[in-house]
């Protein structure tokens, strides 16, 4: 991570530089909101494989990455994509077909794991999950854990409260820190140094960013430093955490970016229908990927195929931050 003034680079270059085969990665947003979709599609186009993904609740980005075969290991709390896919389709299939290694946590556990990584402590405690199968069912074997220095030796641990029954707890669950190689988030505003201002819910983006060795920020608006420094209270991420800044308008599409655009429920449904392709040769799904991902050179070209009509339909109303009375199927 550098502190130099200008970290702006094309997205293609940022992905080439920071996302490698086998990287441990996390992406920002939550289910169908503020996923760094331009970056996700670029990862797919660059054919980066064997990624280890850390997720609390992921949706659109996760399922595109799994669908394209980019992910081999997954630590996750929830995979759903709203009404279009209450359970992410390729996620479910990859598990049912034993195509990826996976481990389940809860949303709070994953959030705490990012927070522990951001804090530089080996674990954080919680009262969540005692007595559940989340504690007993481990997706990664002990020998695999031992052999990979990036994976903690245990999925989690339960200990007696070392302070007796202080705070009315007899036991606590300890969840291990996560320090991804790379986290990618999409925000409303960033400056060239990488300071970010997120509008609406920040989910776990802040913890994910601060836990990561490298961070790529894509932004709706690349603004002057002065604009962000006038209201430091509105900036959640200072530049010291950020490696690269990429200006990608509509870089969250087809997921929602509060104050800019809604999720495109039509597109999400189109993706879900393609992802459901049961055919052995995967014609329908390949056709979808060829048209919208592999057949375009970048996000701008992708949006050109999507068309202005859809983009206008999801444009956010300035009062509410979403598209009022949008037809949602």
């Amino acid at each position: 991570m550098t502190n130099h003034l200008n970290k702006v680079m094309p997205l293609k270059q940022a992905i080439e530089q920071y996302v490698k085969n086998g990287s441990h990665i996390s992406i920002g947003g939550f289910t169908l909101n503020r996923n760094p979709m331009a970056a996700v599609y670029e990862i797919i186009r660059q054919n980066i494989k064997d990624l280890h993904l850390y997720a609390h609740s992921n949706g659109t980005g996760l399922d595109e990455l799994i669908g394209a075969g980019c992910i081999s290991k997954l630590e996750i709390a929830y995979a759903g994509n709203g009404k279009a896919a209450p359970t992410c389709i390729r996620f479910a299939r990859s598990i049912q077909n034993n195509e990826i290694l996976f481990e389940d946590y809860s949303n709070y556990m994953m959030s705490l794991r990012f927070m522990a990584g951001a804090m530089g402590v080996p674990f954080l405690p919680t009262l969540s999950g005692l007595g559940s199968d989340i504690l007993t069912k481990w997706g990664f074997s002990r020998s695999m854990r031992k052999s990979d220095p990036k994976i903690a030796d245990k999925k989690l641990a339960v200990i007696d409260n070392p302070f007796g029954d202080w705070a009315e707890a007899s036991k606590v669950v300890l969840v291990p820190a996560i320090n991804p190689d790379i986290t990618i988030i999409h925000v409303q505003k960033a400056d060239a140094m990488g300071t970010c201002s997120i509008k609406g819910l920040s989910f776990a983006d802040i913890e994910q960013v601060k836990a990561s060795k490298n961070v790529i920020v894509t932004c709706e608006k690349l603004v002057k430093k002065e604009e962000l420094r006038q209201n430091p209270d509105l900036n959640q991420i200072p530049f010291i955490h950020v490696s690269a800044v990429c200006h990608v308008p509509m870089g969250g599409y087809p997921t929602a970016v509060y104050g800019h655009y809604d999720y495109d429920s039509k597109y999400l449904r189109k993706f879900a229908i393609a992802a459901k392709d049961q055919n052995k040769n995967q014609d329908k799904f390949k056709k979808y990927q060829d048209k919208y991902i592999y057949g375009v050179k970048d996000h701008e070209a992708f949006l050109a195929i999507v068309g202005q009509k859809r983009i206008d339909a999801i444009k956010a109303d300035p009062r509410t931050g979403y598209s009022v009375n949008m037809k949602r199927d």
């Binding site: 947003g29 939550f30 289910t31 169908l32 909101n33 609390h56 609740s57 949706g59 709390a77 929830y78 995979a79 759903g80 709203g82 359970t87 992410c88 479910a92 598990i95 049912q96 034993n98 389940d104 809860s106 949303n107 709070y108 556990m109 959030s111 705490l112 927070m115 919680t126 009262l127 969540s128 999950g129 005692l130 007595g131 559940s132 199968d133 989340i134 069912k137 997706g139 339960v158 009315e168 707890a169 007899s170 606590v172 609406g200 819910l201 920040s202 989910f203 776990a204 983006d205 802040i206 913890e207 929602a256 509060y258 999720y263 429920s265 509410t320 931050g321 979403y322 009022v324 949602r328």
Partner: protein
Amino acid sequence: MITAQPYTPKEIMTIMAAREIKNGDIVFSGTGISMLAAMAAKNINAPESVIFFETGAIDSLLEELPFAVADPRIMYWAASNSRLTDSFATMQNKITGEKVIAILGAAQIDINGNLNTTCIGDYFSPEIRFSGSGGGCDVASFVPRCIAFMQHEKRKFVKKLDYLTSPGQLGGSNSRREAGLRPGGVSAVVTNLGVMRFDKDSGRMYLDKFYPGITPEKILENTEFKMDVSKATQADPPTKTELKILREDCDPQRLILGR
């Protein structure tokens, strides 16, 4: 034969869940029918209840029904838009957590109110994989009251869960406390047939209310485990006022209630 009622199964379920919510409660809501129940409670019997989302939005002004807990519709006019670490802390912290009531869905529930939202079949090689815990395990671990919303079917009311995602009374009796959890977990199960609760001592589910036109026998036929129905009485059907508010103020387009 079930005689026709002047309400749909979804409507009576929503009203029954809304009645569980007390004034001043903080309602941890998902989407769909659970959110509608939270809205109905706010409009009917608990005007000072607060709708709360695990994503971090508190007391959102829901001018339109959200379709996901990350829907931008929940971010508008909220008291605060925070983040996951905050929202779960609000539930784990007893000061606010004691006021939280959660509404959860599940693929399977057992006699002790434990929930499965993870998979059908073997965890490592499942027949059907579902979305997973999300915040379900967290809230079921933390807060004193949770409502489970379920379709009442034998394959969902099972003797043994394929995966225990969210803890209820675990093995019954003292096992929840022995595991280190505070009192809590699922306290009421609202289905299309009736309302179930849990015995304080044994931690086992019993039938509390059956809906007009439904018999305890029918409920037992749709439940894989043996359940005590001896205390069951017929539920008070939704009142005209409740139905009017639900239909006209909460879901006028019938996006969730359906046609």
